[in-house]
Amino acid sequence: MSVMTIVKAINNALDIKLNEDRNIVIYGEDVGVEGGVFRVTEGLQKKYGADRVFDSPLAESGIVGTALGMAVSGLRPIVELQFDGFTYPAFNQIASNLSRMQNRSRGKFKVPVVIRFPYGGGVNALEHHSDSPEALFAHLPGLKVVIPSTPYDAKGMMISAIESEDPIIFMEPKRIYRAIKQEVPDEKFTLPLGKAKVLKEGTDVTVIAFGAMVRESQKAIAMAEEAGISVELIDLRSIYPIDRETIGNSIRKTGRMVAVAEAHESFSVGSELVAIANEEAFLSLESPPRRVMGYDTIVPLAQGEKYYIISPERIFYEIEKSFKY
């Protein structure tokens, strides 16, 4: 066991897989000598050589498109897109080809590509550095979209993502890259993709969150418990496939659901969770399922971000409203 941050845990997962599988390559902007702008790939070029861990030209569409080519011809590329807002230039390759090649070729070609990128707000960043685009990718058939919230999950989920035969969008909550430290096993382990995790059991309200919002929800739940409300907390972990069973079981028990996420509210993961609450637990519902999410606006720059970022107090307010409905 070693104490790891999310950055260290992902670095460790990449290290283990690079060591184990000669076909794995890692590339993107500044991932080589620099070790990534967040140092997630630090030391890997030195250890595994510049033919396996390297800087590519600055072109996100090119990074993803070439990864598809490598993946159908024997390599297993892990590519980094530098920030959430820089996934948009790659969207064409992701939506037009990466997500479709397996189906288009009737299974002749598998596309084992991992696209990893830091996402989310709360870091006082410039535009294009605070977005949460998980719903854009989850909406595309053919992709799996996963988001860890702890160092332990980050390591196990990254190893599973690399071993998957499908293209994976692996989103890393940059706000808590170094904020959480946890004991993580040094050896290899995997976690099933597609499974949510009940972090805390409760009877009155189900809170569903992922990424950096898990920690904010935990703070809110402490406030709720003080107010006498028993809250069950689910860390979604996988956006697609979504763990309908765990979600349904919990809401049937509590009768109430509050979904917490940073992304824009309309047409979001929160919207999907409300739909699942209705489909799976309609007769158990005591109050309308709620979304606590970002507005349908661009994430404001630092001075305005306080209005956009979801505070524990805001989550508690919604939990209480749902409970008292």
């Binding site: 902007e29 500044d30 080589g32 000598v33 620099e34 070790g35 702008v37 800087d55 030209p57 600055l58 072109a59 569409s61 090119g62 807002g85 820089f86 948009y88 230039p89 006082n124 960043a125 410039l126 535009e127 294009h128 550095h129 509210e265 309309s266 507005y295 349908d296 606006t297 661009i298 404001p300 720059l301 630092a302 001075q303 305005g304 971000e305 209005y307 956009y308 107090e313 805001r314 307010y317």
Partner: protein, 369 residues
């Protein structure tokens, strides 16, 4: 594009021959007498002052960021000759479509340091450049602005206006598809855009040689049938000549031009970046010797027009820039409306609801105090 129709410098400094336009050498001696722009002593002194102003403003911005008074900042250090040369040529009606490292040109268009500070303090009003005519906000998504510049140039041509568009990109940006696509569009449409690549050798940590196998970046113009030229970006006079020639070419309706300004990023990519991770101090020191300000000063001293008291000027600028920073720093006003008001011309119901729900939360929060 017929070679014979090209302005002389584009023929004499053909990027296929890997030639670079220089008017003064590193010691500030004129090496191309015929090409030396005819500028009055007063103008040259004024140019030096503008370059120095950008330098001081940059250093102060970095210092405010280090003091924790401002968020991530993108320095311009070492690239001032390019920015001020473009600023001297661009007119009020011309369009400026920036990337994010051409502050001197923004200032020439009427942007103030207060605007810049407000932006880097995290307020969108600073980045709107509302008082700078025909100036787009900075483009963070690399290379995308080249298309916008080309579209504006199409409007100009279609509306028969006497305007040109100036746009910028970094060396890394030339790898983006948008870079090549925009050069192609502009070439096909024959529209008045002056494209500048600020080749400062690094895309964050990645060297130009990892971006391209081209012998230089100006040569990328050749395949698209538009004139291109590689220019010493630390030589103000060479940059001025390139922009003057390009602007005349564009305004005459002859089409787009690509300028590679060969320079060096003396500072970090942003204040979040640590160049010691990927380059040597010796390399930085070597380039510091050919700093565009030093080269211009040498020229001015060689020609007996140097009359600047740098220390006094520094104090004057520091005072003036600090006042603008304090002004920006004191502007704490960021109403909730600013998050919502500029999204649509008429606010959709969902935005009204989301705003109202947040206001209800705020009054609940107030009631709990």
């Amino acid at each position: 594009m017929n070679q014979n129709d090209l302005p002389e410098i584009f023929r004499d400094f053909n990027p296929l021959d890997n030639k670079m336009l220089r008017v003064i050498d590193n010691e500030g001696h004129v090496i191309e007498k015929n090409l030396m722009p005819k500028l009055s002593d007063e103008t040259i002194i004024d140019v030096y002052k503008q370059m120095y102003y950008e330098r001081v403003a940059d250093e102060m911005a970095i210092s405010y960021q280090r003091q924790g008074r401002m968020f991530t900042y993108t320095p311009n250090l070492g690239q001032e000759a390019i920015h001020i040369a473009a600023g001297k040529i661009i007119r009020e009606d011309d369009w400026l479509v920036p990337a994010f490292r051409e502050m001197g040109t923004l200032l020439a268009k009427g942007v103030t340091m207060k605007d810049m500070f407000l932006f880097y303090l995290g307020n969108e009003h600073g980045g709107s450049f509302k008082d700078a005519k025909n100036t787009l906000p900075i483009a963070i998504s690399i290379g995308t602005q080249f298309h916008h510049a080309t579209g504006i140039a199409y409007s100009i041509k279609q509306q028969k206006k006497n305007e040109a568009v100036y746009t910028f990109i970094g060396d890394g940006g030339t790898s983006e598809g948008d870079f090549s696509e925009a050069l192609n569009f502009a070439g096909v449409w024959q529209v008045p855009v002056v494209f500048t690549i600020q080749n400062n050798q690094y895309a964050i940590s990645v060297l130009v040689k990892s971006q391209t196998k081209s012998i230089n970046l100006a040569v990328k113009s050749v395949a698209f049938g538009i004139p291109g030229i590689k220019v010493d970006g630390n030589d103000f006079f060479a940059m001025y000549l390139a922009y003057k020639t390009a602007s005349e070419y564009a305004l005459a309706g002859k089409g787009p031009v690509l300028i590679e300004a060969f320079t060096y990023r003396l500072g970090a990519h942003t204040t979040s970046d640590d160049p010691s991770k990927y380059r040597k101090k010796e390399e930085e020191a070597e380039w510091a010797l050919v700093d565009p300000l030093i080269r211009l000063e040498r020229y001015m001293r060689n020609n007996n027009i140097w009359n600047i008291d740098v220390e006094a000027l520094r104090e004057e600028y520091k005072k003036e820039i600090d006042a603008q920073f304090i002004d920006a720093e004191n502007n704490k006003s960021y109403p909730l409306e600013d998050v919502f008001n500029y999204m649509y011309s008429d606010m959709p119901q969902d935005l009204l609801r989301q705003k109202a729900e947040y206001e209800q939360f705020l009054s609940w929060k107030e009631s709990r105090k």
